[in-house]
Symmetry: C2
Subunit: 334 residues, 2 copies
DNA sequence: GAGTATGATGTAACCGCTTTCACAGCATGG
DNA sequence: CCATGCTGTGAAAGCGGTTACATCATACTC
């Protein structure tokens, strides 16, 4: 690989001048610039990014910390992030935290050693205090799907309350009155916000939330199945069920089908996330769209703007989910 | 951040000695080593990886090129790669090629500028010649899901022929004789290999492949739907359908259900990949397992062994798929 | 025409680490 | 007792860039 020295020798200028051409920062006479550029071309010269990093203390790398790489949500998020950063010539390095505090902490340390210029992180286990610490000591960070107080301008999140609201509201407008709810772990902000939206929708329709129709589960398919079984065991009437994510809805659907319950004729079902699986279920699942790819893109934009100084679009910190109507929800049979 | 100089000053030795301690390569007296180590601890010193890279001409980064980041197959593959590399303290940088030659080429260039120590790539559009060129000029490469002649020891792939074979064989053993086949684009090696396996299974049972029962499609859900429609239009009898991937099987299932055909009572359906969606379909899809996460891990192992000189497990270049029996396939009704 | 601002370029230090080479000190063998 | 061979360590030259500062023409001002 050619170095900057060979270029400078070929042209007969100093390396400083070549560097100036590369970076386009200071003025260089047009004639010199042209000569340098063609020499660079002739030698197929590419600046060594490692050396540049060392000299500038920037790495052009953005670290991304997600719970998992695969899966509909994180995969889509990574996809959005990578696309944007790549367009801007930045590198995406990722690490997984598995929603475990120790792992998340270790992953951050790992990414820090790489001198990332910024960190985009989706962490669940890490406490706010740790995030604050990281925000003040390390490189700039952007937090996904979580609002950390005091760092609101560093967060990009979904309006989960609104999502919960529109799901239930839709069912109410279809005539349902007895609506069960299968929730995620209420210790997590997204789960409790979604439930809050559900409650608000009910209240706006003059109904009160019946705690007995709410089951706290774990966002997993099996959890959804079990939650539905528990619900049936309680022998309370309901004509619709809102599930706090699509996976639990899939589990709930399985259980209902095993009982021979017809969806949506006897029970309507609504999910949350609009994960790919929601289209594969039968009947296809009505759900709340989670624009995670766009949110990933937005995170990348934030970094490009705030770390690399590229002017861009305005940053949207809170995204509104929207309803996706499919076959699993219909009018109330009553 | 503390530098190696501060450590050396604190201990009263030269930076060379500190470096020796860091790298553990040359002998250092125990006493000195201990002093250096505790000084490093006291200063919370971490070697700057960028500087190390510049000096050693290694980046500790492995580039991964995939068509897409999300999706069941690539997400799972990335997951396996990241887990292994991370354990070894290596960084994973990824880029997407979207199966377009120009994009793949550009992504490789992009990763090359980062001085990756190795490239793991899953490319479809790039011609063998280009891959050979890259293999000889750039950093070591490992090719996923494709066998490039002359570079077999650099490839990790699935025995697609075997996969096609076991799928059809299972149906034959269940008494099916008229088996339709919805294929992926036959220009792609994996698609044609799967079909070849299908053909071999038939032949081993004394049957000949009926070309009219084979439809070439595109590996997508809609394609599967349309292929099934075309198949039905041909009005040939068949009691089972093998689809070359799960997505097409999902589409085919939709079409059959729309016609009121019962699965598996009237028609058995088998997919390929064992993607998550296969479990969400109704009835749950019997399919051929594609151990993509393990293959990703293996790719990482190859890199660790051949590039970083870590001794490890033996490298398995060809993986055997296996059958996953679920509800969508049953005995022939005849 | 002297003084001065301005633009283009060169010089050299520096980023933080690795590694070759030299050398001192000490044990060993004849 | 001297030649020899190890061991442990230091000095210094890179790795390939960036950039503060110096320098030198040149153009402009009065």
């Amino acid at each position: 690989m050619a170095t900057i020295y060979e270029v400078s020798k070929l042209v007969g200028v100093s390396v400083a001048t070549v560097s100036r051409v590369i970076n386009g920062s200071t003025r260089v006479s047009d004639k010199t610039r042209q000569k340098v550029l063609s020499a660079m071309q002739a030698l197929d010269y590419k600046p060594n990014p490692i050396a540049q990093s060392l000299a500038t203390n920037r790495s052009d790398c953005v670290g991304v910390l997600v719970p998992e790489v695969h899966g509909p949500v994180f995969g889509a998020m990574l996809s959005g992030i990578e696309a944007e950063l790549r367009d801007a010539g930045k590198f995406t390095i990722f690490a997984t935290g598995h929603n475990l505090e120790a792992k998340e902490r270790e992953a951050i340390r790992f990414l820090n050693t790489r001198n990332c210029d910024a960190l985009i992180m989706h962490v669940e286990a890490l406490a706010d205090a740790s995030i604050h610490r990281q925000a003040h000591n390390g490189p700039p960070i952007l937090i996904m799907n979580r609002v950390v107080s005091g760092l609101e301008d560093r967060c990009i999140s979904l309006d989960n309350e609104h999502g919960g609201y529109i799901a239930t509201n839709m069912l109410l407008e279809m005539g349902h009155r007895e609506i069960a709810y299968i929730s995620g772990p209420l210790a997590w902000g997204d789960a409790s916000d979604r439930l809050a939206g559900h409650r608000r929708a009910l209240e706006e329709h003059g109904l009160e939330l019946d705690e007995r129709l709410v089951i706290e589960s774990n966002f997993h398919e099996v959890g959804g199945s079990e939650a539905m079984e528990e619900l049936l065991r309680r022998e309370l009437p309901f004509s619709a069920v809102v599930c706090a994510n699509d996976e639990m809805a899939a589990g709930a659907m399985d259980t209902l089908r095993a009982r021979g319950t017809s969806i949506p004729d006897e029970v309507s079902l609504v999910g949350f996330d609009n994960a790919p699986l929601s289209r594969y279920l039968y009947p296809k699942l009505s759900t709340v769209n989670y624009p995670i790819t766009e949110m990933g893109r937005m995170a990348a934009h934030w970094v490009l703007e705030n770390v690399y100084g590229q002017s861009g679009t305005a940053i949207q910190h809170v995204f509104k989910p929207s309803l996706v109507m499919r076959a699993s929800a219909g009018r109330s049979p009553n």
